[in-house]
Symmetry: C2
Subunit: 253 residues, 2 copies
């Protein structure tokens, strides 16, 4: 029975995709069976694991809107993880879900539940918004993993995200918990990073992962080769910290 | 008669808000009359110029949904620019616009047109998506200013953005042009930045501004004080480059 984690934060560019791809690959390297669900029309997680998102004939769009079987759309990758790919077709789903009568927020959950027994972890990459796509991810998940960039604007959005969590818990998914909070793009040379980290730890306490992800060039280069960091450069700092994070996530169960 | 620019890119965290706030302040410092419209429910541009977004009783939401007069909601700031503030209320507008019969994409244009004669420049900060809020921004604008972070994932989204521009030109706003493309968070120490810059210049040619925005700590610190960079640290590199950009934008007319 898989643990389903939604990697969600409406603030843009905080490291959602980078965390989804690299945590998935590192959990796979630990021997866990892992599915990465790309639920962002940008399709960055899809290309981050080496697939050509424009060449995909069937994607998660066809599963949540077209009713296709998730297993028939899921693909194996070269990196100890399977992927349910996305591309720009998914942008259409937001409009179609908004105007449908029922099940607007539960389509992804229905799809994910059909493959839960095939995996140990299912990670869902969310778009930078709190619209219907992110609500589907939060409804399908057991827990939310919140990446927070160590910058001011990223801190501002946290209270709105927590309000949304409460709404989802009140109705769609009462069991949803905060699986963990991940500090990303930490730059030890700046005061700002330290101040943001302190505020995040004061607010989220033990929910904050011990592992902190520093800003490193290798992490931003890896996606241009379609590779997770452990495949791109196993000796890079980014590979070390995401491997550490995978151990923490795995042990929290 | 103001020039209206939408600062738009669906990729998250590429520097839309940072550009909107700092370009607005620098155009103001040149003596231009400037209005900054925050059209992102995150409200980062609003707090970036020192307003408490949670304390705003009336925002751009009340103008586009409530039919209030834009002039009565616009506020002066301490920094040679006026602002039409936003906060999380605006998230409700996306749903309300989606289910309304007509004028879904033209509400912001109608509001902006009422104040065009009061300003020389109107800059609209967009959210990280290509939904109804961004479509409203593109419909209200004369031109789009596209910030592109010098990273791989940011490059991936450009073709989707151009497709959306073509759609908007075909119907809602035939006169919409690409006012300019701005390279942001350029890090001269990495090959990646240079490669992305080369690709962007090859694609957009003379549309790319001469001014390139480097990644600097001061630029990311300024918003935590609610100040544009020229007020936070006039001697910072970030202040110099955004002042240069203002001159380029002003001369393109
Ligand atoms: N620790 C890091 N060090 C350096 N660069 C990073 C790091 N994490 C992410 N990046 C880069 O920063 C940019 C933003 O990260 P990413 O795209 O993963 O964020 P996101 O939250 O998924 O963005 P979006 O909101 O658009 O979905 C990307 O170009 C990525 O390669
Ligand atoms: N040139 C720069 N140097 C350093 N930091 C920067 C620079 N430009 C922006 N930043 C910081 O990077 C983060 C992302 O920038 P910003 O919020 O302006 O992007 P955005 O495109 O508006 O994001 P969103 O997609 O969430 O609206 C912010 O924390 C900001 O302070
Ligand atoms: Mg992403
Ligand atoms: Mg922004």
């Amino acid at each position: 029975m898989a643990k389903v984690l939604a990697i969600t934060n409406q603030k843009g560019g905080v490291g959602k995709t980078t965390t989804a791809v690299n945590l998935a690959a590192c959990l796979g390297a630990l021997g866990r069976r892992v599915l990465l669900v790309d639920f962002d029309p940008q399709g960055n997680a899809t290309s981050g694991v080496g697939l050509d998102k424009t060449a995909q004939e069937r994607t998660v769009y066809h599963v949540v809107i077209g009713g296709e079987d998730a297993r028939s759309v899921i693909q194996h990758t070269d990196y100890d993880l399977d992927v349910l790919p996305a591309n720009v077709d998914l942008a259409g789903a937001e409009v179609e879900l908004a105007t449908s009568e029922e099940g607007r927020e539960t389509r992804l959950k229905a799809a994910v539940d059909t493959v839960r027994d095939d995996y140990d972890f299912i990670l869902i990459d969310s778009p930078p918004s709190l619209g219907l796509l992110s609500l589907n991810a939060l409804t399908a998940a057991d827990g939310i993993l919140i990446p927070i960039q160590c910058e001011f604007y990223a801190l501002e959005g946290v209270s709105e995200l927590m309000r949304t969590l409460d709404l989802v818990r009140d109705g769609l998914n009462p069991g949803l918990e905060v699986a963990g909070v991940l500090l990303t793009m930490f730059d030890g040379r700046t005061n700002l990073s330290g101040q943001v980290a302190d505020e995040v730890r004061a607010f989220f306490k033990e929910k904050v992962y011990e592992t902190v992800i520093p800003r490193t060039v290798r992490l931003s280069e890896a996606p241009s080769y379609g590779m997770p960091i452990i495949a791109y450069d196993i000796h890079a700092k980014g590979a070390e910290v995401y491997a550490e994070l995978a151990k923490e996530v795995d042990s929290r169960g």
